[in-house]
């Protein structure tokens, strides 16, 4: 099982009302010194097998057509993640394979 992560952010020139709300709340909790906050979206797409070039091509196409709106957003990253890495498990053949795809 492989997870492909897609990060989408509003374009830098587009005002981010959600990020502004977070930025306004931070100092109230004592988190000072942050000059700006921008909030984006993270999509996790899971496939059964490894992240083949075909799978990644499909993810990129989905990212450009549905997951983001190119008028206001940028796809800033498409990367492969192995869920086993998060669980702290030692790498078996599957994780080695997806690791190689990184």
């Amino acid at each position: 099982m492989t997870r492909v992560v897609v990060d989408v952010m509003l374009k830098p020139e587009i005002l981010d009302p959600q990020g502004k709300a977070v930025a306004a709340a931070l100092p109230r909790l004592g988190f000072t010194g942050f000059t700006d906050v921008r909030q984006g979206k993270r999509f996790e797409l899971t496939v059964d097998g490894p992240a083949t070039p075909e799978v990644l091509a499909q993810v990129r196409q989905a990212a450009d057509t549905l997951l983001s709106n190119p008028v206001i957003e940028d796809v800033v990253a498409v990367r492969v993640e192995n869920p086993a890495d998060d669980a702290g498990q030692t790498g078996g053949p599957a994780s080695a394979a997806s690791g190689a795809a990184k």
Binding site: L10, L15, P17, A21, L66, V71, I72
Partner: protein, 236 residues
């Protein structure tokens, strides 16, 4: 009789009001379903307001890929009048039938008010019954109503006269250049955030000089398109 279709997506709210407005204007309202790829021979289509597919992902982003939208996009490109209101406007920008995009209101809260607009372009399929520069009052209610586009696109829209409505008095959502509605190059596709279908019947509309709840400025969106389609029909 002119037949105007109204699309219902899962989460659409104003389809019944839209159908009623069309009837009051003198046309036949035809209910269209998001999962049905046929437009059933209608002469024009309205995409009403609401929260299609819960507005998950982005407002209108999932609705844009509904089966009915393939037909709406095809017909819009060959001149069929299409009106998108609020969520329908968002669906039209996501479909790239109209330029720009809508993001959250700059004040981050939902807003509902009687909004004054100026009519900037009376040459579209949906605005022929207005006078250039006329001030009208149309109810507005939205969360994601801030119209944004690149400066280049905004300049182009202004230069080509494609800004159809501008907010007057107060900009309720931070839209660039006070833009409330725009049209495509051909003038058959129009989108705006305020809701004309809520200002079509005395007793239920916004306040006007004639008295409380007497405003029916929204009715002329529909009489405009009926007049245009009737004229085209007579020429054929």
């Amino acid at each position: 009789m002119i037949r105007i279709g109204v699309v219902t997506f899962p989460g659409t709210l104003d389809d019944r009001d839209a159908l009623r407005a069309i009837r009051l204007a003198g046309a036949e309202g035809v209910a269209l379903w998001h999962g049905d790829p046929s437009l059933h021979g209608v002469d024009a289509v309205m995409l009403p307001g609401g929260f299609s597919y819960g507005d998950y992902l982005r407002a209108g982003a999932i609705a844009r890929f509904a089966p009915v939208m393939a037909a709406v996009i095809d017909q819009a490109k060959v001149g069929m009048p299409v009106l998108g209101v609020c969520n329908g406007f968002q669906v039209l920008t996501e479909s790239h039938l109209l330029p720009g995009a809508m993001i959250k209101n700059n004040h981050r809260t939902f807003i509902c008010r009687e909004q004054q607009l100026s009519v900037e372009n009376t040459a579209t399929a949906w605005t022929g019954a207005f006078k250039p520069g006329e001030r009208i009052t149309i109810p507005l209610k939205n969360q994601d109503g801030q119209f944004v586009a690149s400066e280049r696109t905004l300049d182009q829209l202004e230069a080509e006269g494609r800004v159809v409505f501008r907010y007057q008095g107060w900009n309720p959502n931070g839209s660039r250049r006070d833009i409330a509605g725009v049209t495509n190059e051909a003038g058959n596709v129009v989108g705006l955030m305020p809701h004309p279908e809520h200002a079509v019947e005395k007793g239920f509309g916004p306040d006007s000089e004639a008295g409380p709840r007497t405003g029916i400025d929204g009715l002329r969106f529909f009489t405009s398109v009926i007049a245009q389609l009737t004229k085209e029909g007579a020429l054929k």
